[in-house]
């Protein structure tokens, strides 16, 4: 087996040094009954070429988005990945290193985390950010838990414009902590009244921008209402590219900003692994979950970086920790950071402009189709449309024509008949004008 360097003579020599007759003898503490009953009906060792063959056949059963005009979003976005980004994150020194617990020989990872924390803080408009969470949905649940710790309250109000997976993950996590999560109905029209629902029992109000149905809402007044009620405002961002074009949540009064960094961090990969972004105000630092990297100096006075404020974390605080998270999304955070660095201010804002322009181009054509109405009066690169037919059937019909034509809202809300005809459409810099024409032409036929 190519991954195992020991030869049989070496194994025997080592057993001699140990004073054991066989490897099996080293396993003598395992219960004999369990050893006897262990049978594994599994294939044997395979060569690289065989593994590649099997997995390539499996992969070929999928219709990949590069092989079809694709307009999918709903929290997971297809963007171009610079070649140098994917190369850099595959450098073995990043890819095959552990969490930087020995700072003297982990300065590369640590400095990259420090830069990542700064980038996340800058784009969200917040004061500080952590080294990453698993994904946007779990970051959202952690934000609600943190708001409960800060306010010492045990309920939360969640907007109908929050991604249903974020909402579900938050609801599931919080129910085990006896925190009541009040979720408003899905809001494709963008008309819900959150301010009227805030009560003094709420630890926080959770919203999303751009909303799940695309809307760009100004939550400044909501932020004021939250603070008046002693609650925090948690803002989710599922498409961070939008932050190159819209006012960051931190500038309208958000207390915690969480998000999914996948859209800037490489392939969609069927939705995972992603990278959870988590940013907040400095005054809430001690209640923040997750790792943090900080600046310091070494014995020679040279600047360097270490993991810091670890007393918040599980390996020190155990049951009193701010979270149980250990492994996070280090490499995906590095990919996010590398892409951001490549883009820079000019590239990031231009990428956002381009995304918006492609989406507006798509919207202008789609809204001219008979019986089709765009529900999002404002949007970034994704919007909701009301079709004259059930969206799920339309999407299936488009898939038969090898077009990945959006995500039907019914996939998330199977029990809401009023959403059956709602379709989410996204355009990014990866779409061409020809892609858009192909989709619009096919939609016209399918809807006819």
């Amino acid at each position: 087996m190519r991954y195992l360097p020991l030869s049989e003579p070496q194994r025997r020599e080592m057993l001699g040094a140990i004073g054991a007759a066989s490897v099996d003898e080293l396993f003598r503490d395992l219960p004999k009954s369990a050893l006897a009953s262990a049978k594994f009906d599994l294939p044997n060792t395979a060569s690289e070429i065989e593994v590649e063959r099997s997995l390539s056949i499996m992969a070929a059963k999928n219709l990949n988005c590069g092989a079809a005009p694709s307009f999918l979003g709903a929290g997971n976005y297809r963007h171009h990945t610079p070649a140098s980004m994917d190369y850099l994150i595959q450098r073995g020194e990043f890819l095959t290193a552990y969490t930087p617990y020995q700072p003297e020989i982990s300065q590369g990872t640590l400095q990259a985390i420090f830069e990542f924390q700064t980038q996340v803080a800058l784009i969200t408009g917040m004061e500080i950010a952590n080294a990453s969470m698993y994904d946007g949905a779990t970051a959202c649940a952690e934000a609600v838990a943190m708001a409960c710790r800060i306010t010492k309250r045990t309920s939360a109000l969640v907007s109908g414009n929050v991604h249903p997976h974020y909402r579900d993950t938050t609801e599931t996590t919080m129910k085990f902590l006896d925190v009541a999560v009040e979720c408003l109905a899905p809001d494709p029209a963008g008309i819900e009244d959150l301010i009227g629902r805030i009560s003094p029992e709420h630890a926080c109000v959770v919203v999303q921008t751009p909303g799940f149905f695309g809307h760009l809402k100004n939550y400044a007044v909501l932020a004021e209402a939250c603070h008046k009620a002693g609650a925090l405002l948690v803002v989710c961002v599922t498409e961070p590219v939008s932050l190159g074009a819209i006012t960051p949540p931190g500038h309208i009064g958000a207390d915690i900003v969480v998000g999914e960094g996948q859209s800037l961090a490489g392939p969609m990969s069927f939705g995972g692994p992603g990278v959870g972004l988590f940013a907040t105000r400095e005054k809430f630092l001690r209640q923040m979950p997750g790792r943090l990297c900080g600046e310091t100096t070494d014995e020679d006075g040279r600047r360097g970086w270490v993991l810091t404020l670890s007393t918040r974390e599980q390996h020190i605080r155990r049951e009193k920790a701010t979270s149980n998270i250990c492994t996070n999304s280090g490499l995906i955070a590095l990919a996010f950071s590398t892409h951001m660095t490549l883009l820079g201010e000019a590239g990031f804002t231009r990428l956002a402009e381009l995304n918006h322009a492609m989406a507006v181009t798509l919207a202008e054509k789609v809204e001219k189709l008979p019986g089709v109405k765009i529900l999002s009066s404002t949007f970034f690169n994704e919007f909701a449309v009301l079709l004259p037919k059930k969206a799920e059937g339309v999407v299936e019909a488009l898939a038969k024509r090898r077009i990945l034509g959006g995500v039907p809202a019914s996939r998330f809300y199977p029990t809401y008949p009023e959403l059956a005809n709602v379709l989410l459409l996204t355009a990014t810099e990866t779409n061409t004008a020809a892609d858009i024409d192909t989709l619009v032409g096919a939609l016209k036929e399918v809807l006819a």
Partner: protein
């Protein structure tokens, strides 16, 4: 010999590198984008008016930046990484290549199910291997990492107790030698935590455990092999006692790599166990993640598993995405977005297929052999904390340093100068001054012998009583020497700020 001072601050191949924010060329970008079509924007009043503050750099400068940063890292690719409990084994590049196949990388979680049959098959294949290896009924694939898998297991347990009218069970028993994630997870699941002591052999004291079992106990969480690198010989008796008391047995699978393909944990009476794919199944640690923590479940807990769940329908696959519907009527809900750590599954399946059942058994055998070889050879100078044989990791205490003035930390830092990543230090907490070494199966005898030679040399040097100052000064040869963690924690600087004197301007390297 003293290290010469250079004008640049560089030391040969050790190149100093400022922050990206200190390399800003305004307006520069390392990405050229197509022209932006002219449209009337629909951003409304949320259209941004302010600069963000991101630095501008060209592509070559960015490539150089991250390449130089990478050179300040130790990694499995570059050397021996015996970090106990972390399983730093070789990460095959085939896994990376497979994860980048467009049919796996370039697919969206909400494509029509008819267009992602291969993705669902991949998840089902991973699940099949995990269920076959463990003998368990079901596996929840969505947990994102080990701690998340623990949470999944405890959520299933709590849901099962509530469904059976046992909601009054509010406490989880955890050995005092456990990883911090166990008590932290229990708390996150709304449970109180009670610690059970270990015996002198470094194992769970079954009598003490029995004394703690009462009607309020919801579950026992036991890492097996445990954090001292020892197999819990009495685990079947433990499982029986736990079940007799109406509680569930959660086995923490952090060290599953030691026993994979040797026994089925179902035969130990386990109700739930997470499996770190980034440990046992070789997916890269990536400087802190991502991992994946699929959680295998017994028949009693399987109905409560979280969504999504891949289901076989005839020759094809479907996915149940909603708790309370279809095959997920009793599911406790969703704990992560989308379909779990799919890209990690691809890498793990690539590894499973490459190893095969026979290769996995050889791997656990070699991992245990390597650890016992370290235990035997290092006992010449070091003091083992427990009697062997150990499983996949060997733990030493600091008795061998008594009276030398040299500490476990000093030995670890001196190992850095020897070109080795130090073992885990001061964990498990039940071992004084612990050095926990996990060599893994992917290290050659020559590598182990080199490490043994270095460590024996350091142990003798420490015992000589003449080298305390030298140890305290280590490491001398790494990109940075010991860093001031007290300073970092007292006045935290967690981001770059443009105006601050301490970090706003590019510092001249010293």
């Amino acid at each position: 010999m003293t290290i010469p001072t250079t004008a640049s601050g560089n030391r040969g191949l050790q190149l100093e590198q400022g922050l990206i924010f200190e390399q800003n060329t305004p307006g520069m970008s390392g990405v050229d984008l197509p022209a932006v079509p002219k449209v009337a924007d629909r951003l409304g009043d949320m259209k941004s008016t302010k600069n963000i503050g991101l630095p501008g750099m060209s592509e070559p400068d960015v490539v150089r930046h991250y390449t130089r940063l990478s050179q300040k890292n130790y990694s499995i690719d570059s050397g021996f990484y015996p970090l106990g409990s972390c399983t730093m084994k070789h990460n095959p590049r085939l896994n990376e290549k497979m994860a980048r196949l467009p049919g796996f990388a370039d697919i969206h979680p909400f494509q029509p199910v008819s267009t992602i049959q291969g993705a669902l098959e991949l998840i089902d294949t991973c699940a099949h291997w995990l269920k076959t290896l463990t003998g368990m009924t079901a596996v929840a694939m969505s947990p994102a990492a080990g701690a998340h898998g623990e949470l999944c297991g405890l959520m299933c347990i709590k849901s099962a107790h509530e469904a059976n009218g046992q909601g009054h069970r509010k406490t989880i028993l955890v050995p005092e030698s456990a990883h911090g994630t166990n008590p932290a997870t229990a708390a996150l699941c709304g449970y109180a935590v009670e610690s059970i002591p270990a015996n002198a052999e470094g194992r769970v004291d079954v009598a003490a455990l029995r004394a703690h079992l009462r009607p309020e106990i919801a579950a026992v969480m036991i890492t097996n092999p445990n954090t001292c690198g020892l197999f819990e010989r009495d685990c079947i008796a433990i499982a029986e006692a736990v079940h007799e008391a109406g509680a569930y047995f959660y086995m923490d699978g952090a060290n599953y790599n030691a026993i994979v393909a040797r026994l089925r944990i179902a035969d130990l009476g386990v109700d739930a166990m997470h499996i770190n794919l980034h440990k046992t199944f070789s997916t890269p640690h990536g400087g802190g993640g991502p991992g994946a923590g699929p959680t295998v479940l017994s028949a009693k807990l399987a109905p409560f598993a979280p969504v999504p769940m891949v289901i076989k329908v005839g020759e094809g696959f479907d996915v149940e995405e909603h708790a309370g519907h279809g095959t997920a009527t009793q599911s406790y809900g969703r704990m992560k977005g989308y379909h779990g750590q799919f890209g990690v599954f691809v890498r793990a399946v690539s590894y499973m297929m490459a190893m095969g059942g026979d290769g996995l058994k050889q791997a656990s055998g070699d991992a245990v052999l390597n650890a016992n070889y370290l235990l035997a050879r290092l006992s010449e100078e070091l003091t083992p904390a427990f009697e062997g044989p150990c499983m996949h990791e060997a733990v030493f205490d600091d008795r061998f340093l008594k009276g030398t003035g040299v500490t476990t930390l000093d030995i670890a830092k001196a190992l850095i100068d020897e070109g080795v990543h130090p073992p885990t230090m001061y964990f498990p907490l039940v071992v004084h001054g612990a050095l926990l070494m996990e060599p893994t199966e992917t290290e050659s005898k020559a590598t182990l012998d080199g490490f043994i030679a270095s460590l024996l040399h350091l142990a003798r040097k420490a015992k000589s009583g003449t080298a305390e100052a030298e140890f305290k000064a280590a490491p001398m040869l790494s990109p940075r020497r010991r860093l001031d963690e007290t300073k970092a924690a007292r006045k935290p600087i967690l981001r770059w700020l443009p105006s601050s004197d301490s970090n706003g301007t590019r510092q001249a390297a010293e």
